[in-house]
């Protein structure tokens, strides 16, 4: 890691924050217009990403949704009419790991990070 020009050691960010930054970038580019800036989704169209078992629960299931998309699934007794596109061919494993780590630690969520290896494993099982 390179120090900034000031050379002060405090400018070096802890490494675990890096995926959050990349993840936010991916979120803004690919996810935000439907799931919204605050993760609240669109009533009756796009599910929220806040405090839901889909986001905070089983990581393998969550990775699968990003890779393969999701439609016609009721979430907490609510119907959401807009389909989630399959992003397996759009996003690289690292982008998926980063964005899911971001989502699992934003909008009031707190859950463990998603690693590239975990994404790779799910992608491998799908083939």
């Amino acid at each position: 890691m390179k120090n900034s020009s000031s050379g002060r050691i405090t400018d070096i960010k802890p490494t675990h924050q890096k995926p959050i930054t990349n993840g936010e970038k991916v979120y803004k580019k690919v996810c935000l217009s439907c799931h919204q800036a605050d993760g609240s989704g669109v009533p009756n169209m796009t599910p929220p990403l806040i405090q839901t078992s889909f986001v905070l629960g089983d990581k393998e299931k969550l990775i699968h949704i990003v890779l393969d998309g999701l439609k016609n699934v009721d979430i907490d007794d609510q119907t959401y009419n807009n389909p989630m596109p399959a992003l397996g061919s759009v996003l690289k494993d690292k982008e998926i790991a980063d964005v899911l780590t971001y989502v699992r630690n934003s909008f009031g969520n707190k859950a463990s990070a998603v690693t590239v290896a975990e994404v790779k494993a799910v992608r491998g099982n799908m083939k």
């Binding site: 580019k29 690919v30 935000l32 217009s33 439907c34 919204q36 800036a37 605050d38 609240s40 989704g41 669109v42 009533p43 009756n44 169209m45 796009t46 929220p48 439609k71 016609n72 119907t79 009419n81 807009n82 389909p83 596109p85 399959a86 992003l87 061919s89 759009v90």
Partner: protein
């Protein structure tokens, strides 16, 4: 007198709004009887009831019985019948001389088997005076991409969705169990219509199309986020049998004032479309989601409103990073079945806050319109199930 709560809406001078019913559920379209009673269609049935009957008591609507165990959108009264839709079927209920439903558990199923693939599945209706009912079947897609809403995915050649969705079908209003094949495929190339009304001044169908979403998300090489927040236009079309409004091949750009080829079909934001498609009679900013249309025929409002169009906009979701917009009711002046001036916001303030960053923050979202027997305008909200009554107070 019953209390009518001030609704907190912004209206033109001389108008006032009151809340006449609240907490009804997800009220989509509404219909008013000649006695001033209201039928409200719920998007999702509540306690087994998808239709609520509300009786007028000194200006307040009091909930009576519910019936119809299906969610849906359409609610219209025509010629002694109440018409309602689920997301696949159209029903009608015979009314007695007091406009009360005679047999709530045994409606006639007029149309059946319409497609419901969740996306754009609401079925709105309007009726003409020649015994026909017009039903929207929305396209189960944003822009007919090979992979729906997936960045860079191109359009399906000869978009196959259009054979059974993305258009308007005409059926007989009094015939049971009609399928697609029994109706007339009246107009095509309409992505999703939720608001439509028969204009009795020139005997013509008018519809409001929900334009496509996500130009920037899907084709960032041609559209920046700012352009994507306002494009394409939400369009009002005057529809005659056989018309093609061009979805998914074209969209209407209200800034360039012309039809543009969709990026899924080789467009780049500038390339003009083939001239064969229908032009809108009026274009509105993108993504505002027009959910109902009503031609005003009452005598209560000032002269300029007579025969003009009211449009209930549900409000946007895909304008970020710009604030969301359009949680309002708009008016368009008409004469002899043609718009005679620009659109203007008629009633605003439904959403509560000034800036709405995401649609979940909107307190209320206009969804349905109906004209009361005294010429008042009723507006329904499908967030909390509020019904507003807007009246003009003569000086």
């Amino acid at each position: 007198m019953a209390n009518t709560e001030d609704a907190g809406l912004t209206l033109p001078a001389g108008f006032s709004a009151s809340i006449v019913a609240s907490n009804l559920g997800s009220v989509r379209h509404i219909a008013i009887t000649k006695e001033g009673n209201v039928y409200a269609k719920l998007g999702r049935a509540k306690g087994g009831n998808g239709i609520l009957y509300l009786k007028n008591n000194n200006g307040q609507l009091e909930k009576q019985n519910g019936f119809g165990d299906y969610g849906g959108t359409a609610m219209r009264i025509h010629d002694g019948y109440l018409y309602a839709s689920s997301n696949t079927d159209v029903y009608r209920y015979k009314l007695n001389s007091n406009d009360e439903v005679l047999d709530p558990s045994n409606p006639e199923k007029i149309v059946t088997g319409l497609l419901d693939h969740e996306e754009h599945n609401s079925k709105s209706v309007t009726l003409d005076d020649a015994g026909n009912i017009y039903v929207n079947v929305g396209a189960y897609s944003n822009s007919c991409q090979v992979e729906d809403r997936t960045p860079g995915s191109m359009g399906r050649p000869g978009c196959p969705i259009l054979d059974s969705a993305g258009g308007i079908w005409q059926f007989k209003a009094d015939k049971a169990d009609q399928h697609y094949g029994d109706g007339v495929h009246y107009a095509i190339g309409l992505r999703n219509v939720v608001g439509l009304d028969w204009n009795r001044k020139d005997n013509t169908l008018f519809v409001m199309q929900h334009g496509r979403d996500q130009l920037h998300d899907l084709f960032p090489q041609y559209y920046d986020a700012k352009a994507s927040a306002i494009l394409p236009a939400e369009c009002m079309y005057e529809i005659h049998q056989g018309d093609n409004a061009g979805w998914p091949y074209i969209y209407y750009d209200q800034i360039q004032k012309k039809q543009i080829l969709m990026p899924e079909y080789g467009g780049d934001g500038k390339k003009a479309a083939d001239k064969k498609y229908l032009d809108p009679v009026m274009a509105f900013p993108g993504h505002l989601a027009p959910n109902d249309l009503l031609f005003y025929t009452g005598n209560q409002f000032p002269e300029k409103y007579k025969n003009g169009a009211f449009i209930a906009f549900h409000g946007s979701w895909n304008r970020s990073p710009e604030p969301q917009a359009g949680y309002f009711v708009v008016f368009v002046p008409f004469s002899n079945g043609k718009p005679t001036g620009q659109w203007e916001v008629f009633a605003d303030g439904f959403a509560g806050a000034k800036d709405i960053s995401s649609p979940g923050k909107a307190a209320h979202r206009p969804c349905g319109l109906a004209q009361g027997p005294d010429g008042s305008l009723y507006v329904s909200d499908d967030v909390k199930g509020t019904i507003y009554k807007i009246a003009y107070n003569k000086k």
